[in-house]
Amino acid sequence: MRRDGWLPGVLGAVTKGLLILWAVPGQGGRPLQPPTLQQVQALEKDQGLAIGHLCRTNRPPEWLRGPSLGTRGLRGLRGTMTHMAQALQDITRHQRDLNPPGAEILRRLASAHLKVRGLLNNLEGLYPAPSPQPTRRLPPSPTAPTKVFRQKLEGCRILWSYSRFLVKLNALLETRRIRAHRERQRAHQGSRMPTGS
């Protein structure tokens, strides 16, 4: 049995479960699908960005382009989730200027932020850093918008891009899981074949 084919499959299945469980905002921690079209439309409408589907950008930020697990595998997700945690923090801060305390959108953002931080924590547990490193805070984006509209638009686009990212990641992990399962089955059948004919 090939061990290197087995481990990524298992880890992929575990992480996929964690991702689905943790990373999709506002779903109460239950395994489920990425946001539906209706949910995205509701967000756009709530933000006043439904005109021309301004949120649905085809040019996500660089850290949300992908996913491609490649040779680094799930390790690459750490960077993505680190950026996402920071982005959610910024979005929450912007939305606090627009909404009363206790507003539904603030609760959902807080929940999503918590889940992303939880997933990041799990990834750091799965792939611990080789040596202790000081906590690195991401530098502010040079093009961080200061106008309210721009902030709303940027935040909405990040959330949209993130949901697309998760859809693709989900599909990618599912493919790898199926492939790993088939390899295990083949290995198992091979070990049971009679020796000599």
Binding site: G48, I51, G52, R96, D97, L98, N99, P101, V148, F149
Partner: protein, 786 residues
């Protein structure tokens, strides 16, 4: 000079114009000829403002100014109703001296340029972001690129607005803007193309200036830390960094107030004032739309809100409690108030420095709490201390136990079961730890016997012989005994005699219990009624109740009383602790119908009557009510019943029975008369009590026999004559011969019934005595016979 001045004009020497984009104002500066200043003339100026998009003068204003010699230029400010960024604005001025009627020439137009004169990289909306007050008006402009026109210019969410588009320029005005559920109202502008660079977006917030803080008040708990509180006011609809910010300042302090405001239902802020005694605190609340203040001036020693007293402790006796407590030392004399909750629920408030509560009940819980305020310049009470529950100490029991007995003769003497309970006037004044029962013979001074029982017991049984005994029972707590309760049990002989010939009287139940009355006798100082709550069981849950000398009736109620159970009551009179059985009563709380019907063992039937015989019916305690009698129900099978002497009884199926009542429970037979012969009847005998009778379930069926008298009559009147007639017909000749011969025998004839002539036994017929109608001489044998 005046004449000269009349014809002079003093034109404007220069005009400068600038714009303040923050305030959206045009700032105009100009001056006139020095000579006008020297003459300190009163001048009028006409100022015109022109906007390039509409190519008309949008504003004209006349200004009257008296010039001075200071040389300072003149200024004028114009508030633009539309953003100045989008289009160019121009101003010109002309002048006229008041002494002259001649206007000068217009100055040249001075222009501040807008974006209409340049080519931007895309459409632009102004203002791009603004916070406006609810109820105000706001105007937007959108300037497109050169060669482009503004195709769409609108708000999201959709709000009514005046919209005017003119080629490259769009204008949007919202009047009386209101807050919507959307936190941020978006403005969209699009040129007549679809690429990203054809759009611009802006937004604005609608909110309110903050309310003046209500209930702004400051106080201190220790004269060092001051806490100010206030009500935050209504929702401004501005959140986060635009939300109201609170700043506190003190006129009498050189240091700024550094405190962290926390708001929930109320806002508060606390800081250290060190040695300061007088404060004049100003609270300023500010948001982008306005600022409000509230002030509180005070002497710190007049705003003492002490911390609650703590560590309460007490000293107590059986009737007094002295309460102590600790207070935070703040160098201010305090005055305290104690609240005491008594067992009866009453609350008493005592205003003392320390508290001694007197006249209390022993071994009783009282709950006390304390709060304090400044003795001088009272401001407010502190919070209440934690409530302290205190129990007074025990004292000897007061009053006596209520005791009673049940006496059962046995071989050699009597078993006496003693019962006790705490009478209403009895006060345990502590925890009863045991009961002590002592008994001794009355006649001699023999050593008494005694036993001690734990407090869980409320009865015991002792054996005494036939002598008279004195029994006493006391309750014991940790302090002492109660006064003894005493019973005298008479000798066995006296006991036997007492009540043996008494008859039981019936008593009736009511909704609330069983009513017992008795004949009062003046020799007794009390009466006792005893009974068993569950007569069928052993032990039977023996109960008793005592009454004063003047009582002659009582309503005995018990939660254990149930319908259908017969309770037996004994009424005693007591004098000098000696009780005598006076009356016996028996009754039901509620009677129920009998358990079963009498069994009809025998029936005697005639053609018109039926006699029913039934067995003896039990009337003892096994019955759920007192047997009052019987009802007999009868009815023909096929029809309703209506018999003479009966009452009608309608069944649930509307059939009618005849009902007969028997009021004597001892009766065991009954005859129902006036029945029809040869008829089927159904009947039943039901016993009834004070609770009624059970529903009719089963009947007995009878068949009355045929009436023989009728048969006899039938035989006599019909059959026999018919039979006789048949016989006669059959023997007609014999009958004829016998009864009506053609020639009757002379002996049978009347013609021979004369008296005069007899010859021996024969009668002689004289021809003269008869008048025959025919005479025949016959020589036949018949004649011979004759």
């Amino acid at each position: 000079l005046f004449v000269l001045l009349e014809s002079f004009v003093f034109p404007v020497t220069y005009v400068n114009i600038s714009k303040d984009l923050v305030l959206q104002q045009l700032l105009v500066e100009w001056d006139v000829d020095k000579s006008a200043r020297e003459a300190e003339l009163a001048m009028s100026f006409e100022i015109q403002v022109h906007r390039t998009d509409v190519a008309i003068t949008v504003w004209t204003e006349f200004l009257n100014v008296t010039l001075d010699k200071s040389g300072k230029p003149l200024h004028w400010v114009w508030d633009s109703d539309f953003p100045l960024e989008c289009m160019s604005h121009s101003v010109r001025i002309r002048s006229r001296a008041e002494v002259s009627n001649i206007w000068s020439q217009w100055s040249l137009w001075k222009t501040v340029l807008g974006l209409d004169t340049s080519n931007n990289h895309g459409p632009q909306i102004f203002p791009n972001e603004k916070i406006v007050e609810e109820g105000s008006d706001i105007s937007f402009c959108c300037i497109g690129r050169e060669g482009q026109i503004v195709k769409d210019f609108f708000l999201v969410p959709t709000i009514p607005a005046f919209n005017h588009t003119n080629g490259r320029l769009g204008l949007l005005t919202v009047k009386n803007v209101t807050h919507h559920d959307s936190p941020h109202i978006m403005v969209y502008c699009q040129e007549s193309c679809n690429e990203m660079q054809c759009y611009d977006h802006a937004g604005f917030f609608v909110g309110k200036p903050p309310d003046t803080p209500h209930d702004f008040s400051c106080q201190t708990q220790d004269t060092r830390t001051v806490t100010c509180t206030w009500s935050p006011g209504g929702d401004t609809h501005l959140y986060g960094r635009h939300s109201p910010k609170y700043v506190l300042s003190d006129e009498f302090s050189q240091n700024p107030i550094l405190c962290t405001v926390s708001c929930s239902e109320q806002c508060s802020c606390s800081w250290d004032i060190e040695q300061q005694k007088i404060c004049n605190i100003t609270l300023t609340v500010e948001n982008p739309l306005g600022k409000k203040t509230a002030t509180d001036s005070f002497d710190v020693t007049h705003r003492i809100y002490p911390t609650a007293p703590f560590q309460l402790w007490e000293e107590c006796t059986d009737t007094e409690i002295t309460l102590y407590w600790k207070l935070q030392n703040i160098g201010i004399e305090l005055f305290c108030q104690t609240e005491v909750l008594q067992p009866n629920g009453k609350v008493e408030v005592l205003s003392y420095g320390s508290v001694t509560l007197r006249g209390l009940q022993p071994y009783t819980e009282y709950t006390a709490r304390v709060h304090c305020g400044a003795a001088q310049d009272f401001w407010r009470w502190s919070e209440w201390s934690e409530a302290q529950t205190i129990r007074t100490k025990e004292a000897a029991p007061s009053g006596t136990l209520d005791i009673w007995r049940e006496i059962k003769p046995v071989l050699g003497g009597r078993n006496v079961t003693l019962f006790w309970k705490q009478a209403p006037e009895f006060q345990a004044n502590g925890k009863i730890i045991s009961y002590e029962v002592t008994w001794r013979k009355v006649e001699d001074a023999s050593e008494p016997e005694s036993i001690s029982l734990l407090s869980v017991y409320n009865s015991t049984r002792i054996f005494i012989d036939s002598h008279s005994y004195r029994i006493s029972i006391v309750a014991k707590n940790n302090v002492n005994y109660s006064l003894p309760s005493v019973l005298i049990i008479p000798t066995g002989t006296e006991e036997d005699r007492s009540g043996s010939e008494l008859e039981e009287e019936w008593v009736n139940g009511t909704d609330d219990g069983i009513f017992i009355s008795w004949e009062p006798r003046h020799i007794y100082d009390s009466y006792i009624i005893d009974w068993c709550n569950v007569p069928a069981l052993r032990p039977c849950d023996f109960q008793w109740k005592s009454f004063g000398a003047n009582a002659s009736s009582a309503l005995i109620s018990s939660a254990a009383f149930v319908p259908g159970v017969r309770y037996n009551f004994h009424i005693y009179g007591s004098v000098a602790n000696r009780a005598t059985l006076l009356e016996k009563k028996t009754g039901y709380f509620k009677e129920l119908p009998p358990l079963f019907d009498p069994v009809v063992e025998n029936i005697e039937l005639t053609f018109n009557a039926v006699t029913l015989y039934w067995d003896s019916y039990p009337t003892n305690e096994s019955q759920p009510g007192f047997l009052r009698g019987y009802h007999v129900y009868v009815s023909p099978l096929q029809e309703d019943c209506s018999l003479e002497g009966s009452k009608k009884h309608v069944l649930p199926d509307n059939s009618v029975l005849c009902k007969y009542s028997i009021d004597n429970p001892e009766e065991k037979r009954y005859t129902v008369k006036h029945l029809l012969s040869n008829t089927k009847y159904k009947l039943v005998v039901k016993a009834y009590t004070g609770g009624g009778e059970n529903p009719i379930v089963n009947f007995r069926y009878i068949d009355t026999p045929f009436n023989l008298n009728i048969l006899y009559l039938l035989i006599l009147l019909v059959i026999i004559p018919t039979l006789a007639a048949a016989i006669c017909l059959w023997k007609i000749k014999w009958v004829q011969e016998c009864c009506c011969p053609v020639i009757p025998h002379p002996n049978k004839s009347r013609v021979l019934s004369f008296k005069e002539f007899n010859i021996g036994s024969e009668k002689v017929l004289k021809i003269s005595d008869c008048i025959p109608d025919m005479l025949v001489v016959d020589s036949k044998a018949e004649a011979q016979k004759l």
